[in-house]
Symmetry: C2
Subunit: 466 residues, 2 copies
Amino acid sequence: MRFLSLALLVAGPLVAAAQPAVDLEPYRPAVERIQTAALADSAAYERMAYIGDVFGHRLSGSASLEAAIDWILDEMRADGLEGVRGMPVMVPTWVRGEESAELVAPVSRPLVMLGLGGSVGTPAGGITADVLVVGSFDELASRAAEAAGRIVLFDVPFTTYGETVRYRSSGAVEAARAGAVAALVRSVGDYSLRTPHTGTMRYEDGVARIPAAAITSEDAALLRRMQERGATPSVRLSMGARTEPDALSRNVVGEIRGRERPEEVVLLACHLDSWDVGQGVVDDAGGCVVAWESVRLLHRLGLRPRRTVRAVLFTNEENGLRGATVYRDSVGADASNHVFAIESDGGAFAPVGVGVTATDEAFEMIRSIEPLIMPHLVESRAAGRGITRGGGGADIGPLMEAGVAGAHLNTDAVRYFWVHHSPADTVDKLNPGDMAKNVAVMATMAYVLAEIPERVPAGPSSPGSE
Amino acid sequence: MRFLSLALLVAGPLVAAAQPAVDLEPYRPAVERIQTAALADSAAYERMAYIGDVFGHRLSGSASLEAAIDWILDEMRADGLEGVRGMPVMVPTWVRGEESAELVAPVSRPLVMLGLGGSVGTPAGGITADVLVVGSFDELASRAAEAAGRIVLFDVPFTTYGETVRYRSSGAVEAARAGAVAALVRSVGDYSLRTPHTGTMRYEDGVARIPAAAITSEDAALLRRMQERGATPSVRLSMGARTEPDALSRNVVGEIRGRERPEEVVLLACHLDSWDVGQGVVDDAGGCVVAWESVRLLHRLGLRPRRTVRAVLFTNEENGLRGATVYRDSVGADASNHVFAIESDGGAFAPVGVGVTATDEAFEMIRSIEPLIMPHLVESRAAGRGITRGGGGADIGPLMEAGVAGAHLNTDAVRYFWVHHSPADTVDKLNPGDMAKNVAVMATMAYVLAEIPERVPAGPSSPGSE
């Protein structure tokens, strides 16, 4: 998952228009079958584990991503899904290469690091320079004179992902403006067992492109303490990172065509690409399997709703969003036929609810479904329980900007940023029971919104909806 | 901290003899000064951080351990402590060397590993063999025919340290008996972010000495899933581990001599050696600084109790207990002059209480002090709050076997085994406030037991006391 910044707010009524509540009675029998079947099944977990174990992590441009896509396409066809296809997407290819960092003064000590996605490499032999530790962009600005020729370390404690990730995204640009030769950032995560976290960074035209890497919070704290004691830590950073020509990848699509209005689509979204560490299952193979299994479950139960229910396993969410763009472009003017899009990209932990960004009218209609999913939702400080205002996903962002009602499947993600983009994003962090509940919730939402006679209204989201 | 297995139980009365409670009033003024001063001070944290940052981890036989000892001896003398000395101890020297492990089939994947302390290395080029994953010694016994020529992986979930660590200690012996060529063990810890944990292992005469290493719980689970899917995982294990000749190390001693009975000693214990990963501060530089600061605090306040209060920072707790043995031998028949020994080796987290192993009479006397420390104790599921039955320490074990009343400073150690013996045992896991409270509690116990006219009675611990 990346930080979402959707600019969807427009003027509109502050009070939701009164909507006739959806009468849920006609859907209860099918929903009960869906949920009973979902909860009796561990296929979601098993497929997630298979993807993580057999293909491993799946960075855009990697052979492992394409091998996983091939396998999923085969499985979807074997499942009997319709419209199974790989939608071609040209994706960036960033290659990490060999990399290491070590403290060379005032003591010699290896540092645990991960280069940031998109970074350039260092010259052969690496860069050795004194380190300036700062706690914010403001502090860098006030000490800019000290930064020239140095490696700048942004040692910023985690507050929220949105606040903290700015140092990962823009640290290299800001450090380079001050004349630094490389940028290090304390890993963006809220607990660490010497855990490095990678993620994208960006360069800016006209600003020197310097190498950028994350180190663990433990090692960042070590360098800070050394600086506070009056020492000047010196680090040798070596990175073989490089960007190669774009490669061909695919969005994976599988669906059940609507029996009455096949052109109208309820979209279940996730992303199959991951960072090149760990197994990329919390972020986000687990979410993909939830979307895929939700469609498979409707098919297995012989349910063919009025509208099309389509799973799209997007490619290149992590470092380009090319899959999202290609999909949006592929539907063209028909984006208005997407009646609802829900993404699972916060870790397939126990479900907590569904966060919706939509018009007031659409929100009220979607919220009517809450009683059907409530029994499977847990309390969590990660998100509000039930169907709440605000949410979406990076991959469905372009559709939402076009007015499609969007949502996120919220989960008990209190440990999400412990593992996100790190070697600890592994199969064992998820479990069969919670994943089955995610399928129950997503399949219920999909079924009802694809089946009810009236469609979810499109349009710019209402204020307060994010 | 190692697993303690003290055989101290002897026959004795099941009901504690009624003891006259210690009258605490005479000690309250000094105790108030001690606690106020302790809580106003962050010196314990700062010294712990200095040891971790400047010297790093400190395995027996390493230059870093001896450098830390030199620095502490100098600081103790500068502090004005008495009897500051390094007590020579010959310690084992195990050297990790270069090491790595990788899954080579059914897919290729690096594994995160740490060789176990005491293990032999592999031949140059490593050992490549199929893996047999078992969940217990019983399962190994039942599948012994499959183990020959293989690497046996003990994939045992953490229950208690004592239960689980048997696979780390004895896994190589049991695997070798079945004809295995190497042993892997799932790291002994109760949460993992791809965190490997090392620790001692042992060989047995007459059983082949095969290399032994820990892998992360994530990687152990991966191999297990592959085996459950019908594949046979194959691993290449390469370890440069070797044992070199014993080296000279030292127990660090610093004290305040008793004003009336200098020959009677209240001993504050910990161990300064660590495993060769992380910074070795949770286990156990933090405990050492607590013991050291407790003595320094009494000195700084001009308090000279009736008996000697002595801090001993033991060497070689982790892989030999040679420091404990040498100290015990050094006091000879005078062990009976040690009136009380308390060890801090469970992480200097917020204090929860003091666990005591002693005669009933001694326990009741020690427990009288509880009201003085209670305000600084927190509730925790890690241990009972207050002064409770059962506890001790590996370094004071030989003294306790000689009849000395022993105790452990219990803390809110719910994350102790998340970091224990791992690269994540780092300075940031502790904090100044909690460490200061540890000093307040230990210094209070030390002061009162060194000051009260009657000594804590010696003798075999009473039943129920562990």
